[in-house]
Amino acid sequence: MGLEQFKNRNVGQQEYVLLDVGHSPKTGMDQFKQVVRRTFKGELFVGLWVTMREMINALFKGQMHTVKYPFEKLPISPRYRAIHEMLRLLESGHYRCIGCGLCEKICISNCITMDTRYDENQRKEVSEYTINFGRCIFCGYCAEVCPELAIVHGPRYETASEQRASFSLFEDMLTPIDKLNLQQEYDGFGAVTPYADENIKKTPLAY
């Protein structure tokens, strides 16, 4: 089918095909027959059965849909870009950031501010690191550019707070040292959702 057919707006000149939708009754007797037929068809009871079946499924077969949100949460995709996290090295517990400044450079909304200095071992250390979340557009460039997988996007999407500063300091984003064993490695862009295969549904092509 070419594009011209779609662009043809002269309604009534195309070759329309009438669907067979049955006939509406013409005489009074036909109307009466239709009423009787529909009355005794039992479709109403099919509806009753469907709702009862769903109730049985929900109550006894564990198919309740409700997620009690603040107490239960659905798993979100690892691709999701929420509040940033600063990861630590698993062996030493030291933060991974090497102070290269690439994230600050690439940030298109200029929301990352960092300051570095040399420590006593002549290693670069991060003396100051903040992200202005009022400006951040969560584009994910900083996580993409980071050579050390130090700054990543976490799954923390509930960002309501009394003040923006609650999230934006380096210490706030850094994995707490006692939670080091719980630190999740960032799957990266293009990662698939957990249980993605199980959640695939057939497209209902029947109708």
Partner: protein
């Protein structure tokens, strides 16, 4: 309780202990307390059942499994501002919800809510008092109840007309056509069982079906039962006939301008009416409380079934249009009801 089939009202009454004023008072208090509690609890049940049928949880957070939701709702209703719109007719606007709630409970005065019983002697003051099954055992009980439920239509009607709101007016008009029309079907459908039993008293209906399930009137009058159920749904303003306050069409119909406890009284009235219709259906067609000592349990189960049926139907079926409602009433249900009455009469004569 001894189960005996009495042939007429006089012999039945002489077999019972004397009904004193104290007994009637106690019965009235029991009815008010139990039905108000059930009517309030019904809103919780309704929300739960509808939620389960949509695979949701329903109210969960107030109390265990949301059981105290009723209390929270009550506090909310009582503390809300009582708004009377500027152009409304103040007196009628404030009176209308009382009419709905009052007529619903007055109707319950002549309905057998539980079997009769005698208060044990060891209880002080009221010990030994015989509590009848009906607060006011009228010999025209069914007429009285149907009349009271018909009078209840003045609640929505006056409410809709008094509130100076176009949705209210439409709701009031729908009230008039719907309740008046289905009153006819209710009366005609229940006429056939009345002919069979030969009495208008609920007690006689109950005793006429005392011989077990095979004696239930539903087997003799299945058509009348279905008609009564359909008309009952319409009269209690339940889906698929809840046109009076159908949100998608008329905001909230006759209750649009109401808030707080005045709105709550419409709700209590509606749920009390649901219970009344359930009890009438149970007593007239399903044998009532006639199963010996278990009568109180079986009547509760039967009423509970009809109550659940109303919620079930609400979850499953769509609304009908007002013109379909009228068509169904005058062109289908009423002729069938008349034919049913005629056939019943012919069979009784032959």
């Amino acid at each position: 309780m001894e189960v005996t089939t009495y042939t007429n009202v006089e012999t039945f009454v002489t077999h019972l202990p004397e009904v004193t004023a104290v007994g009637v008072w106690i019965k009235a208090i029991i009815i008010l307390a139990v039905i108000s509690a059930i009517a309030g609890f019904g809103t919780y049940i309704e929300r739960k059942v509808l939620a389960f049928m949509q695979r949701r949880l329903g109210p969960m957070h107030v109390g265990p499994y949301g059981l105290l939701q009723l209390v929270a709702d009550g506090i909310k209703l009582f503390t809300k501002e009582d708004i009377v719109p500027q152009n409304a007719n103040r007196l009628i606007f404030m009176l209308a919800p009382i009419i709905t709630a009052a007529t619903a409970f007055i109707a319950l005065a002549a309905v057998p809510v539980f079997p009769d019983f005698t208060i044990p002697e060891w209880i002080p003051v009221i010990g030994g008092t015989f509590v009848p099954s009906i607060a006011a055992d009228l010999n025209v009980g069914i007429l009285f109840v149907l009349g009271m439920m018909a009078a209840g239509l003045y609640g929505p009607l006056l409410a809709g007309m008094a509130q100076a709101n176009k949705w209210g007016i439409i709701g009031a008009a729908r009230t008039a056509i719907q309740f008046l029309s289905y009153e006819v079907v209710t009366g005609l459908s229940i006429l056939a069982p009345i002919m069979l039993v030969g009495s208008l008293s609920f007690v006689d209906f109950n005793n006429a079906q005392a011989g077990g399930i095979s004696h239930w009137l539903i087997w003799q009058q299945p058509v009348a039962f279905v008609l009564f159920l359909i008309a009952g749904f319409a009269e209690t303003n339940r889906t698929p006939f809840d046109l009076l306050e159908h949100e998608a069409e008329v905001v909230s119909g006759y209750a649009t301008e109401y808030s707080g406890m005045r709105w709550g009284m419409f709700f209590i009235g509606e749920y009390a009416n649901m219970i009344t219709i359930s009890i009438i259906a149970a007593v007239v067609f399903l044998g009532g409380y006639s199963e010996g000592g278990l009568g109180w349990l079986t009547i509760i189960l039967k009423v509970g079934f009809f109550f659940f049926l109303m919620l079930w139907v609400r979850a499953a079926w769509p609304h009908v249009r007002p013109d379909q409602l009228m068509w169904l009433c005058w062109k289908v249900l009423m002729p069938i009801a008349v034919i049913n009455v005629v056939i019943t009469g012919i069979v009784m004569m032959v």
